[in-house]
């Protein structure tokens, strides 16, 4: 095989990868134009086209608190990622590493304290 370069296929792959989603989106658009032109009506825009009649708008405002909880959880979720390797290698680490980890946890704890004080942990 006389391929010019071992990585040349990457360029080809990138091109294919760009073309593939574009082609699909284009075909979908063309299909929609010729076979199913949009005819919006109140019934079609319902949340369920058949079945239970929805009451009210589906775009209701969720309490922003849900999202804040998720964010706070995310932070401490990711914290484990760093603590686990530290725990595994704990016996071989110098004291400095312990301090570094303590500083790291302190930073996160401060974030929690901040959220607490601002009242973001109250379930209202």
């Amino acid at each position: 095989m006389n391929s010019p370069h071992p990585y040349a296929f990457l360029a080809l792959f990138a091109a294919v990868a760009v073309a593939f989603p574009l082609a699909l989106l284009g075909v979908a658009r063309l299909w929609a134009r010729y076979f199913s032109p949009p005819k919006p009506s109140a019934t079609k825009n319902d949340v369920y086209e058949c079945g239970v009649a929805p009451t009210g708008d589906s775009w209701i405002q969720f309490k922003a608190h849900y999202y804040l909880y998720a964010t706070l959880f995310l932070i401490f979720d990711v914290e484990v990622l760093f603590l686990l390797p530290i725990a595994v290698a704990f016996t071989e680490l110098p004291v400095g590493a312990l301090f570094a980890v303590l500083i790291f946890i302190l930073l996160l704890a401060e974030g929690l304290v901040w959220a607490w004080h601002r009242g973001h942990l109250e379930w209202k």
Partner: protein, 484 residues
Amino acid sequence: MKPNYTELFAALSPEAALIVGALLVVVLDLTLGRKKIAEARWHAAVRIALLAVGLAGCFTFASGRPGAEFGGAFMLDALAQATRYSVLVLAALSLALLPGTARMRHPAEFVAVVLFATAGFSVMATAQNLLIAFLALELASLSLYVLAGFDKTRPESAEAALKYFLFGGVSAAFLLFGFSLLYGLTGSIELNVIARELGAQAASPLLVVALVMVLVAFGFKAAAVPFHLWAPDVYQGAPAPAAALIASASKVAGFTFFARLLWSGTGASSGQAPAWMLTLAILAGASLLLGNVAALAQRNLRRLLAYSAIAHAGIMLLGVMTGTRFGPGALLYYTFTYGLATVGTFGVIAIIERAGRCQDLDDLAGLYRRSPLLAGCLLMFVLSLAGIPPLAGFFGKFLLFSQALRLTGLTGPAGWLAIAAIALSAVALYYYLIVLKRAFVTPAVAGTEARIAVPLKPALALLLAAALLLALGVFPSSALRLVT
């Protein structure tokens, strides 16, 4: 190699001071600031933050033992130290603009995020390792997204933040993919090892792809054409102090970081002109042309500043090219003095906004009568941006252009760019003078003739920035000696 944490802490003490400062600002505001009015909380937060920045400056001075630190992850050379000082000065000026002008809620959080961003800039200046560099860049960028969207009273602020975030996210992804390819090619994430390995290898298409990806990210960060689309929107929508930081300290740190990456990591030492030179020249030329021409058409002062920033980014890219032979001095001098002038201009905008609107050029009308101090400072900043002697902007341009002409002579790309930049500076002068004409000649619109009260700290910041511009313009060599 056993990592030495004492050494690490000594090397990073300025950043530690900034982070501790940020934590203190938040904690003190939570405990002591609860009952106080917003104005007092702003003053207290900014006072602590300025103290932290000052302390970081002292620590930078004390940590001035040049060399690689922590197994080569950090590099404390003259460029890093000078960039740290520049970033700290610009951040301090942006902070000092806040008390008395900012109307946002949550002062402590804003100030703390500014300090986080500054720490990010500072680490970017010293990073000698792809991982550290990426983390520092992300710390700075994420903080800046938050700052851009901080003003919840105006919907434009959130929109600017979203645009900045999306463009910045794409740029980060490009940078990361470029980094992963560089790592794959060389088996290391340390810049000096990468440089050595790449020097030993033949040029490969994969290296070109990696470089292109890094350059795309660089283009986004520097707001170079064709990756400039976020800049006008962000400059227009973000709160003025945040825009000041985005336009100044972020530029300085970003250029130092990417210039270091390109100079040391990617085979500039292999004798011939490195592969990225031509791409950079094209970016620079396009930025110069589009920035200057589009700025002519602007009616909005902030958008005008954004397009002028794009044009300036073109000149700075020229500085990255010349830096391969003449060292980083001219580039850093240019970015720093540009940052000073931009912080100053946004400071003037922030203070005018306190009294009323300051978006369109017409909002500047009658500024000379309304506040001679602001008008005088604006004159200094805008003339420095335009490059009028004896201000620092002139010497920065002079130095860069003369180096560019010496780099390749009149026939090389750098020479052409320098000539184009000189020609376009005349265009730039036109729109800068329009700004000044509004401020000095056009009379104020009826109903807005009231004098503008200038709060103390912002006034001091403006005067300091103007004085620095003048001093650096008159004595450039003493500043340049710091870098070389």
